[in-house]
């Protein structure tokens, strides 16, 4: 037993692209998630966050590498053997509009996973269970027989969450669960997710491009750039002492609601993001990195420990360039 709930070992995912090229969506990623923790996954659009999330719960099969759940290699399992583990892993989507079937009532939407896994006997028992779940996510019971379009975005996301927790999973991938919502509603959902984590002993992979969301929820954070991990470790530590040049750019760029810092020069990233179908040799960040040297082009920096966190940069000890 590895002692981790979930572990990715050298996971790689290539997608076919135009002209016999391959999109390097996730490249040689290894990470571990402990039971009960929340790992935040941040990075910019297209860096492979959603792909990695889907690989971890076997909604996608890796091109190479393996994923272990409670020490067991689930990549190698036959579908029929994986079924008992499937129930343990759920996904909450970004878009509460697209992810709920508009023709189903709330009752049926939330009952679906309960019925799929045969968790209750009679129809009444199922409905009782649905009521209980709606209470857990603060959706009033009288909405039981309404349809998704009758709800606001926040309420729909609550229903999505009720579905995700219906089969009592232990691991949930939340893929940008609040990005489509209004600011005042985002916090309601984030508080709910945090409460559910404690009351139901959940473990989360929390994907977001919003660094403040991750700051609130994640015990540890993983920063990705073009399919690779740049830096991973304790959230507080990384937010106060980023080691990787890319992490620094990311944290500096977040606009803070404080007009007194207006006019303060922000370091801007140079150039354009490299293509995932044609990643740079050596360090994937080097074409944009102010610190890059020949060494960075020649070979790829491995993740290594610096203090308590891991970073993949040859010059991670040296502070901002």
């Amino acid at each position: 037993m590895s002692g981790y709930l979930l572990e990715a070992r050298n996971v790689t995912k290539l997608f076919p692209a135009a002209g016999k090229k391959k999109v390097h969506a996730v490249s040689d990623v290894s990470l571990q998630i402990r039971e009960g923790e929340t790992l935040g996954l941040v990075g910019e659009s297209g860096c492979g966050k959603s792909t990695l999330g889907r690989l971890l719960i076997r909604l996608l099969a890796p091109t190479s590498g393996e994923v272990r759940f409670r020490g067991e290699n689930i990549t190698a399992l036959k579908d029929s053997d994986f079924r008992r583990i499937r129930k343990e892993m759920q996904l909450v989507f970004q878009d509460p509009y697209a992810s709920l079937d508009p023709r189903m009532t709330v009752r049926d939407l939330v009952a679906e996973p309960i019925e799929t896994w045969r968790l209750c006997g009679s129809r009444e028992e199922v409905t009782d269970r649905v009521r209980e779940l709606l209470r857990a996510v603060n959706v009033p019971e009288e909405f039981l027989y309404r349809y998704p379009h009758q709800f606001s975005g926040g309420q729909r996301q609550r229903i999505g969450i009720a579905r995700a927790i219906a089969a009592d999973p232990s691991f949930i991938v939340c893929d940008e669960p609040v990005s489509a919502l209004d600011v005042s509603v985002q916090n309601q959902i984030l508080n709910l997710l945090r409460d559910l984590k404690t009351s139901r002993k959940l473990t989360y992979l929390f994907i977001s491009h919003d660094l403040s969301v991750v700051r609130y929820l994640a015990d540890r954070v993983c920063i990705m750039f073009l399919g690779k991990i740049c830096e991973i470790g304790d959230t507080e530590e990384i937010y106060t002492r980023p080691r990787h040049p890319y992490t620094r750019f990311l944290l500096d760029a977040v606009p803070v609601p404080d007009p007194s810092v207006r006019g303060k020069e922000i370091r801007l990233l140079k150039g354009e993001p490299p293509s995932p179908a044609d990643p740079p040799t050596g360090c994937r960040f080097r074409t944009r990195c102010p610190r890059a040297t020949e060494k960075c082009a020649a070979s790829e920096p491995e993740l290594r420990y610096i203090g308590g966190v891991q970073a993949a940069c040859y010059y991670a000890e040296e502070g901002p360039a």
Partner: protein
């Protein structure tokens, strides 16, 4: 005397719906002084974008401006015939949107699209238009501008597409640029670049009306801010003043809801409830249903937007006396 690039007074937009008329914009007045960036902040459905569209004369039917006036550089434009309005758009005022793809032609090279915009608004030769397009691409800091001219929109990143849109909007050096959530769909590092670019344009003589739901974005670039809720302006102040002392309970709720990057916390602040349906607005203050300070008067009467001190106006009975 500060010259006003844009002055809007009492603007009201009406949409007939099956269940009755709604007013997504109600009695909105605002000013954009020359050489400044003015922000409108609020949540979805508060009327930010509709205000912008009404100012541009781009309301989708059956929406209609039913009251109010819009002045561009001192000239009233609300009553102008559509042909005149069209001439203003692109020449003296232009607009960029959250998703540049919706306004770019997917099957035409981006260089060509900007070229055509130039030829539409000026009578310069094809050669001249080509040359100016390249200049504009460089001005909005498109890297490798020359090769980018012959790309199709889908071959560009979101950030580059937004730059192309800005280049297009800047063809005639408009006096006013309306930017509707221009960075919402972009990554933070790209957002920082685009905001910088907007500041450059401002310095070069184009005033900006910036619409955003993000208080961080507002704080970074705006000089003045209008907070909107359910179609109305509920607070207006200089950016410094508003961030230092928001007075409207809704503004205060928005500020409390901001998540910190620097420290974690146990529970995030929220504003209870949801944005009201415009068909079922409460009789009194639109925020009364969600307001922690709501009193009897608030439920019955709509408060006026009143100055509590010069340059700071609030639509709230509690704030009128200046009390906390």
């Amino acid at each position: 005397m500060n010259e006003m690039t844009l002055e809007v007074s009492g603007l009201t937009v009406c949409y007939p719906t099956e269940k009755g008329a709604i007013f997504p914009v109600k009695d909105v007045s605002l000013k954009v002084p020359a050489g400044s960036i003015v922000g409108i902040v609020g949540e979805s459905g508060c009327g930010k974008s509709m205000t912008a569209r009404a100012v541009m004369g781009l309301l989708r039917s059956p929406g209609k401006v039913t009251a109010g006036k819009v002045f561009l550089c001192g000239r009233e434009i609300t009553a102008l015939p559509e042909k005149e309005r069209r001439k203003l758009r692109g020449n003296e005022m232009s607009m960029i949107f959250q998703e540049p793809m919706t306004s770019l032609n997917p099957v035409m090279k981006v260089g060509k699209q900007v070229e055509e915009a130039i030829r539409l608004h000026t009578d310069c030769s094809r050669e001249e238009a080509k040359r100016r397009t390249l200049e504009l691409f460089r001005e909005v800091e498109i890297p490798e501008a020359e090769t980018r001219l012959s790309c199709y929109p889908h071959q560009l990143s979101g950030g580059l597409r937004q730059r192309v849109m800005i280049a297009m909007a800047m063809v005639c050096r408009p006096r006013l640029l309306i930017a509707d959530e221009p960075t919402t769909a972009l990554d933070v590092t790209v957002e920082a670049q685009i905001l910088k670019l907007l500041e450059h344009l401002r310095d070069a003589g184009t005033s900006v009306l910036m619409i955003s739901h993000n208080l961080g974005v507002i704080a970074r670039v705006c000089d003045e801010v209008y907070v909107m809720y359910a179609g109305r302006v509920v607070e207006q102040a200089s950016t410094e003043r508003l961030f230092e002392q928001p007075l409207h309970p809704y503004s205060r709720g928005l500020f409390r809801s901001v998540r910190s990057l620097r420290e974690g916390c146990e529970t995030l602040e929220t504003i209870p409830g949801v944005v009201p349906n415009l068909l079922r607005l409460p009789q009194g203050c639109s925020f009364s249903l969600r307001c922690p300070e709501c009193g009897e008067k608030c439920e019955k009467t709509m408060p006026e937007l009143l100055e509590t001190e010069p340059g700071h106006a609030v639509r709230c009975f509690r704030a009128e006396g200046g009390e906390e």
